[in-house]
Amino acid sequence: MKILVPIKRVVDYNVKVRPTSDGTDVDITNAKMSINPFCEIAVEEAVRLKEQGVATEVIVVSIGDAKCHEQLRAAMALGADRAIHIDAATNLEPLAIAKCLKALVDKEAPEIVLLGKQSIDGDNNQTGQMLAALWNVGQGTFASEVKIADGAAHVTREIDGGLQTLKLKLPAVITTDLRLNEPRYAKLPHIMKAKKKPLDTLTLDELGIDGATRVKLVKTAPPAQRQAGIKVADVDALIEKLKNEAKVIA
């Protein structure tokens, strides 16, 4: 069984991103870049499925400029077998990304596409569901547990009310939530080995994808700032403030 794992290069989660001063974009020059945390969890899960003998090959794919080779190599250091870079603008929208992945699925015929539920830059949470629609397969989103048995994927999902378990016919799309696993750290020999693993590049033209923007970013602004508050000395002072100043308790 082949597993395809799409990954994204994003601003590291520790960086506090701000709008540019002209309010047209976000200021991420010189920001530390990393593999999106949810994507890293997807790579880890795919590698574990290979270690369990469920998967035979793990292919990572990233869509963006050539800088994403860094994240593709990092994913191969975690255990992915080979990588595909789809050369495109870094701001391709989820629908266009899903179309790229569908084209790749047609070429590679994986049984599972395992990807992060959202990337922490755009916070869209769309790509997996869109791919599942275009591919006409089942979707197991926000997964906190994945088991492959009897030719089906058993996916436990984190939902607002608790947990839900689905059985998906294969092929299927699975998107990861944070508690699915804790990714390993790459060891030096694996990092060295990853440098020699195959990394192919494809273009949007080769895949027949139109990357035109449909939702234009017209403005960026900082969120409403909160007034700096005060420190209270003790519980009595806190209760007094909540009752008489904020009037949020009776």
Binding site: Q129, D177, V235
Partner: protein, 309 residues
Amino acid sequence: MKTLVIAEHDNQQLKPATLNTLAAAAKLNQPIDILVAGANCGAVVSQAQAASGVTEVLVADSDYLTHQLPEDIAPIIQANIGDYTHVLAPATTTGKNLLPRVAALLDVQAISDIQNVLDANTFERPIYAGNVIATVESSDSIKVMTVRTTSFDPVAATGGSASTRTLEAGSASGLAEFVSEELAQSDRPELTAANIVISGGRGLGNGENFELLYTLADKLNGAVGASRAAVDAGFVPNDMQVGQTGKIVAPDLYIAVGISGAIQHLAGMKESKIIVAINKDEDAPIFQVADYGLVADLFDVIPELTSKL
């Protein structure tokens, strides 16, 4: 030019998030219909008819829709898209699961988590864990959007008198099958709808200590939430997580107990009206957003607070 709102429900109750979504829809100034898709969901249909501002309730009531799987519901929306120019659902795990699938079937780019409607094509939404508010303009003919419910005050649940229209029944996709569900049972108000939320973090130390927060919450008729660290450590279940990747809350009063205030946590609660932080580290970043900060050991002050209220 009409708007379709997707009702969130459990076949018995229309979820309050639907009323906030109707409020976002109302800002588009065009007729609003609601889709109720489920099984034996007549009670929900009646509630949807009564909701303020609804013209027509589209009803897809069939056994195969019991668990409302997106593989089954997305094609129903696609088949009935007619002259709807906007399709809205709450940005809950249900809405987030369904709407991108609908958008892809309609070949449009979905817009997630809108927090403001500027005009029929232009919306505001948070990106980068809410550190940036983006204004985005869609050129697609149909806008498929999830709505950040805390940004819109709910419409009235009663007073409406919408008509109903039964949709032609489809059949199960066979792609996905419901196996089981483990839903948290609680007598406390729902986290996203509560006026008061008390959240605990890693500082609580273990699951038993959350009892301190439950006791306080019961005194205040509040809900209890948690940071990711508390959920990951197994103190409490995942449905209590507040933050970028958990629930978004905006109560009148949010009390953060033993929570440091990471960006990802703030993303889920910084729209609260009043924020109280209780933390023994006076430099914890949570104090930068707190209206009232109390530098103290939670194990001393939470019991004291509970007894004095």
